[in-house]
């Protein structure tokens, strides 16, 4: 518990100070991080089979993210010293990541667009009830490259005159 300035003034220990971490812990962490990195590269070359309804792609991605999160935890707790830090530090480290996930709420919009059933809100591409709307983003989630690549003169990259 962080001390009030009065308590800090009266204390004889050194509050937030020196917790000197022994070198071997740092080396061990570096080794662990290296192993995890090699694991994540290795996992890339391995096609993880689908598990139930979850596709192989998602499995691969999940594995990669879990490894990345583990590496993050190692760096945050050991290299950045949060393991031995004050409660306020721990709270701050947590808040940053929690708040980042709040940004993720924006992602809810995209699948929800499929549930548009308001008449007249569908775009040219859409038909009522099929979840097509006029938004710029294509509706298809399946591989979109069935269509031919666009011919050069059709790509309008410099719309400004």
């Amino acid at each position: 518990m962080a001390k009030t300035p009065l308590q800090a003034a009266q204390s004889t220990d050194h509050g937030y100070q020196h917790h000197v971490v022994p070198t071997w812990k740092y080396v061990a962490t570096l080794l662990a991080l290296t192993v995890l990195m090699l694991l994540t590269v290795g996992a890339y070359y391995v096609d993880i089979p689908a598990v139930g309804p979850i596709s192989g792609t998602v499995m691969n991605q999940t594995v990669a993210l879990i490894i990345a999160c583990t590496k993050t935890a190692l760096v945050v707790f050991i290299f950045m010293g949060v393991w031995w830090g004050t409660k306020l530090q721990k709270l701050w480290a947590l808040t940053g990541f929690v708040w980042f996930f709040l940004l993720g709420l924006i992602l809810i919009d995209y699948p929800m667009r499929a549930y548009e059933s308001v008449q007249g809100w569908e775009g040219e591409r859409g038909k009522a009830g099929h979840g097509q709307d006029g938004s710029a983003l294509p509706r298809v989630v399946t591989p979109s490259s069935q269509d031919q690549p666009v011919a050069p003169d059709e790509i309008n990259l410099r719309p400004r005159g």
Partner: protein, 594 residues
């Protein structure tokens, strides 16, 4: 006669000749390289006021243009540039930094009993970043202006607009970092630099709201910074982020932009709430009703405010079901604000109300913010929003909360702390007239806009020849704007006049409670001559108990100085030993009637 009279603002004792933060050094360099939070606050006061009047002059042009159904003085493209300029300057250069940078910087360290903020040099950097950002924004106006609206919707801003969007985006990016540094400073200061005995629940509510504001700044501003940076990258390097031709999603920009810009409006209004708490309790000489509720509601607004951004996007192809969720959350976020309004109103009840100019602003706030908040509910309800969005109803709503709310609180706080900041008392007569003019002018300007918006007048249009029936409301609005302008210009005169010829202020000219009133006006550079130790909560008013004790002991309290009494000869003296009630109450920290 009531013993609790109106305190005399003029000092009864010889002028304090000790050096204070103003006269400790006189060179320009000492001002421009200062680390003193009070000097930085004054630097901000001058620059923010200048930008305010710049933004207000754009508003004047808008109102002049709208007097006639066909354009009067501006072409369409110029009008677009004028309302964009008004929005950008008012939002990014006045409302967002306004109260935190001026009153927060000046008063917050003193309120918690600290000598300065945690990072004084970072504070100075934040002012320089603000000036540089403001410079870029003004450069964008001078270089041709921007016509995208302050919301910079893509793909117009990122691909098609021919204005100086790049310069403006750089300016806002830099000003955003000014805001972030201020937020970091406040968070660390409030956590770590409170005086001995100043626990969280003894903090003045202004500090609670500044803390909540800083949390919002720290969590939200980086998102808009990156979003605007992405628009800039798309504009300059053609990196496709929001362009529909390449499969990008313009609505993603809206999501990311409003993810900050909705919490941004809470950055604008939470400090105002803090000031109102101070004004209402001190000018009714009564402990704020429901301190804990007000404190926690600030945090609730800060948190919930991050969950409602979609209510700006009900008609932007966002799914209807998502709209439903955002609508519900927007209704919920109104609840903590309403709790505050109830608490302030109940603070007034049975209080000893004194109607000096800061209080007039606070009372105006109560009414106008309530109207603004309630009209926000019309917009939060998705069904009505479909009809009211992008009309003048929205314009009127946010002006009620921003001008009727934030600006009035800003002016109230400025008048309240003016004697503390400058050591001079201004004449209250003109101040009251000015407050009244602002209130009347404001209502005449913006209330007709609710009606004309409901009738269908779109916002950001400079002609409405297709609906000449709107003209009467627009003319009324412009008329009100003239009165409002008068009310806003007046403080320039009587406040400046007070700097030269005002009466020298005592330490506590309003008879208020708070650590800032225990130090001299103006304070010394280190804020206090001796470190304060806090033993009781801040809102230590108790008129009934005080009055009864007076009658029992026939002592008369000197309202200007809590530790002094007025004896039979009418002289103010230190309290009689043993019968010095305020310090004996402090010593045991108990109150019978809590």
């Amino acid at each position: 006669m009531s013993a609790i009279g109106i305190p005399a603002p003029v000092e009864e004792h010889p002028h304090d000749t000790r050096t204070n933060y103003l006269n400790v050094a006189h060179t320009l360099k000492s001002w421009l390289t200062t680390g003193d939070h009070k000097r930085i606050a004054i630097l901000y006061l001058i620059s923010i006021s200048t930008f305010f009047f710049l933004g207000a002059s754009f508003a004047g042009m808008i109102r002049l243009e709208l007097m006639s159904p066909a354009g009067v003085i501006l072409e369409s493209e110029t009008y677009n540039k004028v309302f964009t300029a008004h929005g950008v300057v008012m939002v990014f250069l006045f409302l967002v930094p306004g109260i935190p940078a001026i009153m927060g910087n000046f008063i917050l360290p003193i309120m918690i009993g600290a000598r300065d903020l945690a990072f004084p040099r970072l504070n100075l950097l934040s002012w320089y970043l603000y000036m540089i950002g403001g410079g870029f924004i003004v450069a964008s106006f001078v270089g041709g202006g921007i016509d995208t609206g302050w919301t910079f919707y893509t793909p117009y801003s990122s691909m098609y607009s021919n204005g100086q969007v790049g310069l403006a985006l750089i300016g806002i990016f830099i000003a955003g970092f000014s805001s972030i540094t201020t937020g970091i400073n406040f968070i660390v200061t409030v956590h770590k630099m409170r005086a001995p005995g100043m626990t969280w629940f003894r903090l003045p509510l202004f500090v609670w709201s500044m803390y909540a504001t800083s949390v919002v700044i720290v969590l939200g501003t980086p998102v808009v910074a990156i979003t605007l940076l992405l628009v800039l990258l798309e504009r300059v390097f053609h990196l496709p982020f929001f362009s529909p031709e390449l499969g990008g999603d313009p609505v993603l920009f809206q999501h990311m932009f409003w993810f900050y810009s909705h919490p941004a409006v809470y950055i604008m209004v939470l400090p105002a709430f803090g000031i109102i708490s101070e004004l209402i309790s001190n000018f009714s000489r009564k402990r704020i009703f429901g301190y804990h509720f007000v404190a926690f509601s600030s945090l609730a607004i800060a948190g919930l405010g991050f969950l409602v951004w979609g209510h700006h996007m009900f008609v932007s192809s966002q799914s209807m079901y998502e709209g439903l969720v955002f609508s519900l959350l927007s209704f919920l976020v109104a609840v903590p604000s309403a709790i505050k309004i109830f608490n302030w109103t109940l603070t007034l009840y049975k209080g000893n109300i004194r109607l000096q100019s800061p209080m007039l602003y606070a009372l105006g706030f109560l009414g106008l913010f309530t109207i603004g908040g309630l009209t926000g509910l019309f917009l939060a309800s998705a069904g009505t929003d479909v009809h009211l969005t992008a009309t003048y109803f929205v314009v009127a709503h946010f002006h009620y909360v921003m001008v009727g709310g934030s600006l009035l609180a800003f002016l109230g706080g400025l008048h309240y702390w003016w004697p503390k900041m400058t050591g001079r008392m201004f004449a209250d007569g003109p101040a009251k007239v000015s407050a009244l003019l602002v209130f009347i002018g404001f209502n005449v300007t913006f209330f007709p806009q609710f009606i004309v918006g409901w009738l269908g007048m779109p916002r950001r249009y400079h002609y409405y020849y297709f609906a000449p029936e709107y003209q009467v409301y627009n003319v009324m609005s412009t008329l009100g704007a003239t009165v409002l302008a008068l009310g806003l210009i007046m403080p320039l005169f009587y406040l400046t006049h007070s700097l030269f010829s005002g009466a020298r202020a005592a330490a506590n000219p309003w008879g208020a409670h708070g650590l800032e009133w225990e130090t001299t006006s103006p304070p010394p550079t280190t804020n206090f001559y001796e470190t304060p130790i806090v033993q009781d909560e801040v809102y230590d008013f108790d008129p009934v108990a005080e009055y009864e004790q007076q009658r029992a002991t026939s002592e008369i309290f000197d309202p200007g100085h809590p530790h002094r009494r007025i004896d039979k000869e009418g002289e103010s003296k230190p309290g009689i030993a043993g019968a010095d009630h305020s310090s004996s109450r402090a010593a045991d920290g108990q109150k019978e009637d809590r």
